[in-house]
């Protein structure tokens, strides 16, 4: 075999493997959605997942947003000063947080916090035969484990993004009024006048998409986990990588879609 053919063969194998995993993920997503609409429904599991994905993520989301908003205000002030446009800080912080940084950073924090824990939990359950035990107890793992987690993330991550947006803007506000000499009332008025409903809706829609991706990847990699501690480690690592990359790719696509509207 010539080197060229060998290279092409490798490329082909990689491409096939790639499309095969895309297909498996798509089937998994379809199965999750179809199970979500068919009883039995596990309300207690859903409540539990809402608590873990939503409530317990608030601190990390708040901290991420407040520092980002603060840093953004400083950067825009410094950058704006180069062409005498320091006054745009409230507007740019608002639009930057709401349209882009809020959803993306919350999405990535959810990938770090929620995707990893879902993947590790489900993979451990798989490795210790707890998934098999569920089946023998007439409980479908997709319905009992996957649907509640994905549904919870779909519902609650937009709320987290909304909270992150607000806290990020407040971070910018604190820095701008505290150290950059902005007038407090004018800052808030500028922010409120500038933001449009479409900005906020696009932010929340991104949140829903990222939440879905984050939880789905955690469940998918957990369910696909290999055996032993190494299998759990691989599943966890793979789930976070996939969730982060997919969130950033989805962000690009969604931004394009919202722009063209």
């Amino acid at each position: 075999m010539t080197p060229l053919i060998a290279a092409l063969a490798t490329l082909g194998r990689v491409a096939l493997a790639f499309f095969a995993s895309v297909g498996r993920v798509a089937l998994f997503a379809a199965s999750t959605i179809s199970h979500a609409f068919r009883p039995p429904f596990y309300a207690r599991e859903l409540a539990n997942a809402l608590f873990h994905v939503g409530w317990l993520s608030l601190p990390v989301v708040g901290l991420t947003a407040v520092f980002t908003g603060g840093a953004l205000a400083l950067q825009i002030y410094a950058g704006g000063a180069r062409f005498n446009a320091e006054a745009v800080v409230p507007q740019i912080v608002a639009i930057g947080m709401v349209r882009e940084l809020g959803p993306v950073l919350v999405g990535l924090m959810i990938a770090a916090r929620v995707t990893s824990s879902i993947a590790a939990e489900i993979a451990t359950m798989k490795v210790t035969e707890q998934i098999d035990a569920l089946v023998t107890l007439s409980t479908h793992p997709m319905k009992y484990l996957v649907v509640p987690r994905v549904l919870a993330a779909l519902l609650v991550v937009p709320l987290l993004v909304g909270v992150g947006d607000i806290i990020g803007i407040m971070g910018g506000y604190a820095v701008a009024t505290g150290t950059l000499g902005f007038n407090a009332a004018a800052y808030l008025k500028n922010t409120a006048d500038f933001l449009q409903l479409a900005d906020i809706l696009s932010s929340l829609a991104k949140g829903a998409a990222f939440g879905f991706i984050a939880a789905l990847m955690g469940c998918y990699f957990g369910m696909q986990s290999g055996r032993g501690a190494q299998g759990v480690g691989r599943a966890t690592k793979g789930s976070v990588e996939a969730a982060a990359v997919l969130i950033l790719a989805a962000n690009f696509l969604l931004t394009g879609v919202f722009f063209s509207l």
């Binding site: 039995p40 596990y42 939990e121 451990t124 359950m125 210790t128 035969e129 707890q130 098999d132 035990a133 569920l134 089946v135 023998t136 107890l137 007439s138 409980t139």
Partner: protein
């Protein structure tokens, strides 16, 4: 009545089951013995549909186990896993009562809890373990909780994968009596995997020995000591020399 006909299962290049033929009459107790790694657990998982056999037929009461309503099928079974497989996020009593808290056998929480505590008592555990998490229990206690979960909904057919492994002799005796009682008093069909020859004699109506992917010997427990079969003889006496290789 459970029947396996010419069941094969291969993992990669490892041909584990190479034509299993086995039948367990309703209300009887079969014990499967055989060396470590011969496929005893795989055999049971095939019947439950947790592992899909490559070929062969599995019939439960004359009906093919792989077709029809899975939930209704599995509702008749109880299974104790070799590693207990307790849900580590749930307290002990919710593990035991898992089936009673959801699905077709659902009942009020207080009642489910009472049943769970009663089943825990039957496997020799006190009510104070009910609210602990599985990770806080010893290996033998976890095994017994798994046993309590397997029998919680009074199933017709019960599989026990090494129910007495890791238990002290007294507790092993308690568990043996319990399994015998479930078969005799409740008329359940039981399939037990064990390496413990005392257990075999205490639990079994019939014994099947798995070796090299097939059932090498199958007969009533009373024939165990009179058999001429060299494989079975080596297994029972625990001799390192004989037809069964010590390294596998």
């Amino acid at each position: 009545m459970i029947e396996m006909k010419n069941v094969h299962k291969t993992f990669g290049t490892n041909a584990v089951l190479r034509g299993i033929d086995l039948s367990v009459a309703k209300g009887s107790s079969l014990v499967i013995i055989g060396g470590s790694g011969t496929g005893k657990s795989v055999t049971i998982k095939c019947i439950l549909g947790l592992i899909e056999p490559d070929s062969g037929q599995i019939l439960v009461d004359g009906k093919d186990a792989s077709i029809g309503d899975r939930d209704a099928f599995l509702a008749r079974f109880g299974m104790l896993f070799q590693g207990a497989a307790l849900f580590d996020s749930l307290p002990v009593w919710q593990n035991v009562a898992f089936r009673l808290l959801r699905g077709s056998l659902k009942r009020p929480r207080a009642e489910a809890r009472e049943i769970a505590i009663e089943k825990l008592r039957r496997v020799g555990l006190t009510p104070d373990v009910a609210d602990r998490l599985p990770a806080e229990l010893s290996g033998g206690m976890q095994k017994r909780v798994g046993l309590a979960r397997a029998i919680a909904a009074d199933p017709e057919i019960i599989f026990f994968d090494e129910p007495t492994a890791g238990l002290d002799p007294i507790m092993a005796g308690v568990i043996n009596d319990l399994i015998r009682e479930i078969v005799v008093e409740m008329g359940a069909t039981a399939m037990t995997i064990t390496h413990d020859m005392n257990s075999v004699r205490a639990i079994a109506d019939n014994v099947a020995m798995l070796h090299d992917g097939v059932i090498k010997w199958n007969g009533p427990v009373t024939d165990l000591d009179t058999t001429e079969d060299p494989y079975l003889h080596q297994f029972i006496t625990g001799s390192a020399t004989g037809p069964i290789a010590a390294i596998r």
